[in-house]
Symmetry: C2
Subunit: 343 residues, 2 copies
Amino acid sequence: MVAVDVMSGEHPPEVYIKGAVNAVRDFNVKMALVGDGEIIETALKKLKFEDSRKVKVFHAEEVIRMHEIPSVALKKKKNTSIQVCTRLVKEGVCEGLWSAGNTGATLISAIMHMGKIEGIYRPALSTYLPTLKGHCMLIDAGGNMDCIPEYLAQFAIMGEVFASRVQDKKNPSIGLLSIGSEKSKGNELILKTHEILKKLDCNFVGNIEGYDISDGDVDVVVCDGFTGNIVLKVTERVFKLMIELLQQEIENNLLQRIGFALMYPAVKKQVYKKTDPRAYGGAPVLGLNGSIVVGHGSSDAYAACNGVHMVNNLIKNKVNDLILKRLGQFGLLKKPIAEDAKV
Amino acid sequence: MVAVDVMSGEHPPEVYIKGAVNAVRDFNVKMALVGDGEIIETALKKLKFEDSRKVKVFHAEEVIRMHEIPSVALKKKKNTSIQVCTRLVKEGVCEGLWSAGNTGATLISAIMHMGKIEGIYRPALSTYLPTLKGHCMLIDAGGNMDCIPEYLAQFAIMGEVFASRVQDKKNPSIGLLSIGSEKSKGNELILKTHEILKKLDCNFVGNIEGYDISDGDVDVVVCDGFTGNIVLKVTERVFKLMIELLQQEIENNLLQRIGFALMYPAVKKQVYKKTDPRAYGGAPVLGLNGSIVVGHGSSDAYAACNGVHMVNNLIKNKVNDLILKRLGQFGLLKKPIAEDAKV
C-alpha cells in the first residue's frame, strides 16, 4: 500500500485525491489517503470511488506548510499528514509514500520514523535531468551538502539500481561530475570517489563534465547535493531563459514573431514537457527503509498519479533490496561503529 | 604594452596578429606580438602595418599545445610563447597579456613568472554568464578546486572591482551561489563565507540559487572553482540543448520548420551571440601581478581584438590597485606567514 499526503503541495486536497484514485485505477495499487478525513470521504464520494479494499483513509488534523522551518514545525506538531504518512511506513501498514509538501520536513520525518537502511551513510535525493536522448538521473540533487567519498560511492550504486529497475536501463552507465574527463581533474572529493568507483565491477565511465550531461550518454550523474542542487536549478532556469531571450529579441520583428507562433507547439512540448517534473511525479529519496517520492510543490493530479506510480515501481521492483545487495557485494556498506568493542 | 601570444589557440598566428593589429588601431594600445618572428614580420607586412612604435615583435620558438600536460610541458620547454609573454610582464616590458592557449599552462606560467599580488590567497579565473539583462560575472570559474571561505571572500571583492571598473556597473551586487536564499542554506564553505561577506560594507545581497543567475539581478556570482566550472559548462550546453531538442521535434513538421527558419536570425543572435566568448575576448584571471585574459581555444581575430581590449581596460582602470585597496580596507588580505617569527 502507498501512502499519499493529500494535504501537501500548492493545490487543494481534492486534486491529490483525484490523482491517487487515478493511480488506483491505472496501476491497480492500494492506497492510504492521509489528511482531513471529512474532505477525503467527500471527495471520494464525488469521484464515485468507495472501494474500501483499495483505498483506506487515515485522518491527520494538521499540515506543515511550505514556509515553515522543518525542524521547528516537526517539534511543535505531532500529527501532521507527513508524520502520519511516515509512521504508516514505519509500522508496516504502507511500504512507501508520496508527498508534495515541504521537502525538508518530509526528509526529516522520513529519517526519524522510517530510518536509513542499515549500512547506508546518507539517503540521497535524486532527480531526472533532461538530455538529448531522454532523461538521466542526478544523484544527489540536494539532500547532502558536505559529502565524503563513501557517500558518493553509495549514491552511484543507488542511482544505478534505480536506473536499471525503475527506468529499465540495461547496465546503466555512471558518470562522476567533475571539471574534466581525466581522472586527475576535480576537487579532493571527486578524486577520491573516482578511486573507489573505478575498482567496482559496474559500468563506471569515469569523470564527466558539465557539457556532457545533456548529451544523454550517461545514465547516472553522481555528485554531492550542493553541486547537484545548483546543476538542477541552472538547467531548469536556462531552458526558460532561452525562450525569454528569444521573446525579447523577436518583439519588434513581425516575421520572427510569426515564426515563433508557428514553432510554439514544439517549444511547448520540448521546453515545458521535458523539464516538467509532473511527468514522472517527483524525486525519489533512496536509502531509506521504505520507498519515498517527493513531488514538486506545484504538483497536480497528474503529478500525484505519476508519483504514486514511481513509488509503486520502487516497491514492486524491490529497489531497496537490490541496493543493499549491490552495496554489500562491492564492500561499500557502512560498518557498524565499534562493533568489535561490543562484548 | 599588452603581450599577445600569437601562437596560441586553434587558428594560425596570422589570425591573432590581425586581431592584435585591429586592437592597436581601434583602442590605440601598444602591443608586443610574441611567437615565430618571421611569421609575425611577414603578416605585419601583409597587413601594411609596420609602425614599430606601436607594435614590437618578440621571438618565441616553441609553443605549448592544447593536449599537453601543463606542468610537464613547462618543464621541458623554456622558451614557449606563453613563457615569453609572462616573462615580459614580469620584467615590466608589458603590463598584461592575452593568450588563447592551454589554460592550465597559461595559469601556471603566469603564477610562476608574474606571481600573485601580495596578500592574495589564490588568483581566480572569472567569466561572463548570459542573463536576461546582459551578462553577470562568475568567479571562480575553474581555477581553484578546494577553497576555504577566505578565498571566496577575496573572489567576491575581486569580482566586484572588475564589475565596477571594467563593466562600468555602479555599486555591483554580489551573490553567493548556494542552494537557497536563507543564510542557513548551503555547505560549510558557503555558510562560513556568508558570515564574512555580510559584515563588509559592500553590496552583498546574500545567497542566491541556481535559478537566480539568469535573472541578471546579481552582477557578481561567487563560488568555488569546481562549482563555477560546472555551472559555466551546464549553462553553455543547455542553451544549445534547447535548440537541438527543438530541431529534433520539428523535423517531421513542415509548418514548424518554416517557423524555425523565420525565427532563426533571433536564435542565432540570442543563442550564439549571447554565449559567444569571442564577444568579450576571454576570461580575466584576477589576483596576479599583471593583467591577464585567457581566450577560448576557438578564439579568432575578433576575439583577440576584444581580449586585448579587456586587458587594456584592466590596466587602464588600475583594477589590481583597487583590488588591493578594497581587500585592505575590509581586512581580507592574507597575512604574511610567521611575520613575527622573523628576527
